[in-house]
């Protein structure tokens, strides 16, 4: 199907594959359509249908609360063109410089429980994939409707294998599938890489990473990228990783592999034990970060990921206490 997008500044045309969402078709064509989660939650990819027919694959998507269906509005990530369509996106849109995402298939390898409700797994890709530290893929399991976004934990150019972590979410289709049985060897469909909360060593600033729960995934990729570029020798890197209790802690050994990073774990619901291998403090992760970071915000770029309330609380600290400018706060509420 042929899709025409009229943006605020110009028009674009591209083709969509069968059953491919409008958003994924446009991104694959190298057009920087607006999105954040790419999986029906955030509402950022809202557009208005001018002509043609669409099929909405998920009418109960949480992000639908941001659209006005009576005005022809819809989520590009959930809708597939059933005829040639023309649509309007009320944003300035440009072509991407490089690195358009694409559909990617792969095989699940080495699933392993990290805690009682967090699992790690890898996806062995059919074709190698370049991505930036901090990016994510959307993954779909066989027989489970819809994609879910997961940040890459590793970093490699031309990666053959992507590492992920996932938290158990009752009622989450992909999560139920992943935790429901040993999925080693299962085939997944994916699309990516996606996401703009990325780190590149050319940044040249001190880096503050604040993660709640599985939001640590993208931070591990950033640490791997930074280590490869010997970034710790030139800049300070702070990591704040928040979970509820000791039994929710994971990646301790992986974090200890970065002795030049200043790492703090925050426990929100219990006092940390004595003699921990890394620094532990009691409190919500944004409070712990606020305490330890006071007076150290010169030339800092912050990355935040985790559950939406934790991300919002951290952003509040970074804007009002740290006085960071908004371009130095990169965040991902949907990991």
């Amino acid at each position: 199907m042929r899709i025409q997008v009229n943006a605020r500044n110009r028009g674009f045309e591209f083709d969509a594959r069968a059953r491919e969402s409008v958003l994924y078709a446009g991104l694959r064509a190298g057009i920087d359509l607006p999105y954040e989660c790419a999986t029906g939650t955030c509402g950022t990819c809202k557009a208005r249908l001018v002509s043609g027919r669409l099929h909405d694959g998920w009418r109960e998507a949480p992000g639908r609360k941001f659209v006005k269906p009576e005005q022809g509005e819809f989520l590009m990530c959930q809708c597939v063109a059933e005829s040639d369509v023309t649509l309007q996106v009320p944003k300035f849109i440009n072509a991407m410089d490089s690195g358009a995402p694409d559909a990617r298939a792969g095989t699940v390898r080495s699933p392993r429980m990290l805690t009682h409700d967090v699992i790690s797994f890898s996806v062995e890709l059919e074709r190698p994939c370049d991505f930036d530290a901090g990016q994510f893929m959307v993954l779909a399991a066989p027989g489970v409707a819809g994609y879910r976004g997961y940040s890459m934990v590793n970093y490699a150019r031309g990666a053959r294998r992507l590492s992920f972590i996932a938290k158990k979410k009752p009622g989450g289709g992909f999560s139920d599938w992943l935790f429901g049985a040993d999925r080693n060897g299962a085939r997944l469909e994916g699309f990516g890489p996606l996401g703009k909360a990325t780190f590149d060593p050319s940044l040249g600033k001190n880096v503050l990473l604040i993660a709640g729960g599985s939001g640590i995934a993208g931070m591990m990729s950033i640490l791997a990228r930074a280590a490869e570029a010997k970034y710790f020798d030139r800049h300070q890197v702070w990591v704040f990783f928040g979970v509820r209790t000791m039994r929710d802690v994971f990646f301790l050994d992986e974090l200890r592999a970065y002795p030049k990073a200043d790492i703090t774990l925050a426990l929100s619901e219990e006092d940390p034990p004595a003699n921990t291998p890394l620094r532990f403090e009691r409190g919500p992760v944004h409070e712990v970060a606020k305490r330890r970071m006071a007076g150290k915000y010169q030339d800092v770029r912050a990355y935040v990921a985790g559950p939406p309330p934790a991300v919002d609380a951290a952003i509040r600290v970074l804007l009002l206490d740290a006085k960071l400018t908004t371009d130095n706060i990169r965040y991902d509420k949907y990991s």
């Binding site: 025409q4 009229n6 943006a7 605020r8 110009r10 674009f12 941001f66 300035f92 804007l319 009002l320």
Partner: protein, 243 residues
């Protein structure tokens, strides 16, 4: 029209925000910026998130959803924000806030916001208010570009080029947006696109040469407008790559 009360002064403590409903039904957010009060639209122009849930430090308002920011005094966008806030001027009498007239689209747009009030007044005197039906053609390629337009309400779309080779050139839908700005260029500029009202639209039409004379009378304001016009043109040039 009867004065429309918004709220009591004491309802909005210093350096906080409050969503209010004025008499007659208009919803707005009131900001108390160090004892001065400013009113503006209740929802973020980005995704209709309530702005009263935003972060406010007494000067800058930040929407918590995507960190769009504005100066509450001018409504001008800062940082990541792509659109200004519609302001509602307020007056204070006997410990209460009242709506004080409507905000002109001229002062909202990215070319003219925050300019010296005398310059804005002179520009406003040049403006002719026009109402167009859906489908109305405002100009076509090759027409002399004598006037520029400021959108008050409605939607206007552009087609670049002629006939079969015409391609979508974007659209305007926000109050205060300026188009047809070729009229602000030297010489005898021509239209390179057609402009058509997608829906019933209200516009201000301003003669370009007359506006330039106003700006020449206040070179400081004129410089600001030309700097913003250059940025505007650059943004469109940057996006005109192969399609």
């Amino acid at each position: 029209m009867a004065k429309r009360m918004v709220c009591r002064v004491g309802d909005v403590p210093e350096n906080t925000l409050k969503e209010c409903e004025a008499e007659g039904g208009l919803k707005l957010v009131v900001a108390n910026a160090g004892g001065e009060f400013f009113g503006f639209q209740p929802q973020c122009p980005h995704q209709d998130v309530p702005l009263c849930e935003g972060l406010f430090d007494g000067t800058t308002l930040t929407c918590h959803m995507h960190l769009w920011q504005w100066d509450v005094r001018s409504g001008a966008p800062q940082g990541l924000a792509e659109a200004p806030l519609q302001k509602y001027p307020l007056s204070v009498e006997d410990g209460a806030l009242y709506l004080a007239g409507d905000d002109s689209p001229l002062g909202m747009g990215e070319l003219f916001n925050g300019l010296d009030s005398g310059v804005l007044e002179n520009l406003a005197q040049l403006a002719k208010r026009e109402q167009h039906a859906a489908g109305a053609l405002l100009y076509r390629p090759g027409d002399p570009a004598e006037d520029f337009f400021v959108l008050d309400s409605g939607q206007v779309e552009f087609l670049v080029g002629r006939g079969d080779r015409a391609a979508p050139g974007g659209f305007m839908l926000k109050k205060g947006e300026v188009f047809g700005w070729a009229a602000l260029l030297e010489g005898t500029p021509q239209r390179i696109a057609s402009a058509r009202c997608v829906e019933a639209s209200a516009l201000l039409r301003i003669n370009g040469k007359s506006a330039l004379r106003v700006l020449e009378g206040d070179p400081a304001s004129g410089f600001v407008v030309m700097r913003r016009l250059a940025a505007l043109i650059a943004r469109y040039l940057a996006s005109s790559g192969a399609r």
